[in-house]
Symmetry: C2
Subunit: 358 residues, 2 copies
């Protein structure tokens, strides 16, 4: 089935987020673990900055989880650069078995989903899932060199500098991954690379409907439904598409791209990039889940699967969306009492990690 | 653990291979399912030809397995083009949940490994794993437009036009996937993009040693060990590296890149590309396994994880290798008697599929 229920307790043990200076001035600034003052990270090229950013994020997540690198068994990751070089070069530094993936800005959800499956089926005890993007490397690969000073059309989104990583583990935490849905590739014929929200909205709609149907759930069963980065226009299209299927996305719905910036920041439709949903999940959403303010969350990262070559050859833009369902299973939660694997030994380990930021 | 043993019977139900005219003149010509006369596949660009090739290969594998597309639950794939567009656009046509991945020319083994894990753990009954490459699209993306007529250095390899796909299933066949190893990213400091075999050999060595150690096996326990596409020089380096670890790769070792072409074809070090190990597995190797001539095979696809940008910025080339162990479990095989899941109902299904080429 397209939706896979995670049978055993699989936890998001902890997450780490890091963003650039512009993102650090946005509405989520108090939730990020680290805000860069210098987005070059003292590297000579933006591509090298991007991979340094990812390495720092992953090391941050491992440290914050109270683990060491030797506790981590696999690295699941990918990114937007050609041949996912940020992730591959980061994997070289980490020296962990590397499962490289690509689904554009839906990469974080794909990585989380495969991570949860590995833990659920006893293939590993702790793994790391992470991704990031850098505005300046993405601009020059996908659009124009920054030096050209090109104007941006009003439907454009802003690839964020930032990212996030999550340690997925059988060690208990407040947050459990309970189900995942791998999306189909959907294409409604949008061919404007400056309007990717519109291209991705049909895939988001398809994945959310599939997930709700398979989980026998309604949209208001979730405290929070977050799409990856449809931006302002794309999320309005999603709301319309869902209404056509009689599903109302109300106040419990937001888009990570829209959440990233405030109205005075001139980023048009909002943030985008694989790092967008990765950083929002591992900051704001994880904080609210850990605090029990969100009990049930659906993260739906969305990706536009074109390349500059397909755009130049007149192809339309296929979209994809993968979904990950997260639940609060903290000490006050009823669902926690069902958690038979919380043995004494695990509780001892929990105490050991109690220093970590909740 | 880096090596994952597949506990339940997971079968390579059937595979399909398709190659271009040059590859179809090589030593394996009698094993391929289809040899193209026209490598444009009547498409207007080489990129569109590549994705048409992949779609035809996947449809071929499904049909040869005696299944229909509605029996397939997930598509695991990736390719060498930027943003894996061949696979993404193929996934759009297939309308299957898509798990996109990238590990350069190691993609086939990564796809097979994740496919086997999904079937082993009951997440699906039938999935498809496939990839392909096209010489002409790879040349102009990674090196130079063909129109320039550039000379090739003697250590260069030839990205093949071709690929393969395998249906991985719980339905029984003669060939079982019994273990997989996900590789680490290894970099010995090679920075010559025209010598990728040398860049990938250390990763192949690391993955083979890890797999043998974890399986408590020796190299001569395997009837056939095939590396992805190290080419002539790379496979000589691998043999040396293995000797340093007291492991002899003898007559049971060959490289898919070397197997693809004969000496009179001017391809220097041999074939390469994600489609190389994919097409050799789904033709020659699968034929020998199905016939029981190979009882135990280790496929080690190897990938060079650079991009043109990293090469231009002076980075060295990180390599990766993933391994998949395949076993003959045909009717005469002893290991087949251990196969408890071969129920009556499966045998009925087997009869239904008996038309498929063994």
């Amino acid at each position: 089935m397209q939706t896979i229920k995670i049978k055993n307790p699989v936890y998001l043990l902890n997450g780490f987020s890091m963003v650039g200076p512009l993102e650090g001035e946005g509405p989520l600034k108090d939730y990020f673990d680290y805000i860069l003052k210098d987005d070059t990270l003292k590297e000579k090229t933006f591509e090298k900055s991007e991979r340094r950013l990812l390495l720092d994020i992953i090391n941050g997540a491992i440290e914050k989880s109270g683990l060491t690198k030797s506790d981590i068994e696999f690295f699941f990751g990918g990114d937007l650069l050609n041949q996912i070089v940020s992730s591959s070069f980061t994997a070289r530094e980490l020296s962990l078995p590397f499962i490289g993936m690509y689904s554009a800005c839906a990469t974080m959800a794909e990585a989380l989903a495969l991570s949860a499956i590995f833990i659920d089926n006893g293939l590993a005890s702790n793994v790391i899932a992470g991704t990031c993007t850098h505005f300046s490397s993405a601009e020059r690969q996908y659009r124009f060199p920054l030096e050209l000073g090109n104007q941006r059309p009003p439907t454009a989104q802003w690839t964020i500098t930032g990212g996030g990583a999550s340690v997925i583990s059988k060690l208990p935490s407040n947050v459990r991954i309970s189900a995942v849905t791998f999306g189909k590739v959907i294409d409604y014929g949008i061919d404007d690379v400056n309007n990717m929200g519109a291209a991705m909205a049909p895939a988001a709609s398809d994945t959310i409907c599939t997930h709700l149907t398979n989980m026998k759930a309604k949209s208001n069963d979730y405290d929070f439904i977050a799409t990856g980065d449809l931006g302002k226009l794309g999320s309005e299209i999603l709301i319309d598409l869902m209404e056509q299927r009689d599903i109302i996305l109300g106040k419990n719905y937001a888009d990570c791209g829209c959440m990233m910036f405030n109205k005075t920041q001139r980023v048009f439709m909002g943030g985008s990039g694989a790092g967008c949903s990765a950083s929002v999940l591992n900051s704001y959403i994880l904080h609210k889940l850990n605090a029990g303010e969100f009990k049930r969350v659906l993260l739906v990262s969305t990706g536009a699967l074109m390349s500059t070559t397909t755009a130049q050859q007149g192809d339309t833009i296929p979209g994809i969306a993968h979904a990950v369902e997260l639940e609060y299973v903290g000490k006050d939660s009823k669902s926690n009492s069902n958690n038979k694997q919380r043995s004494k030994s695990n509780k001892l380990k929990e105490n050991k990690h109690s220093k970590r930021k909740s």
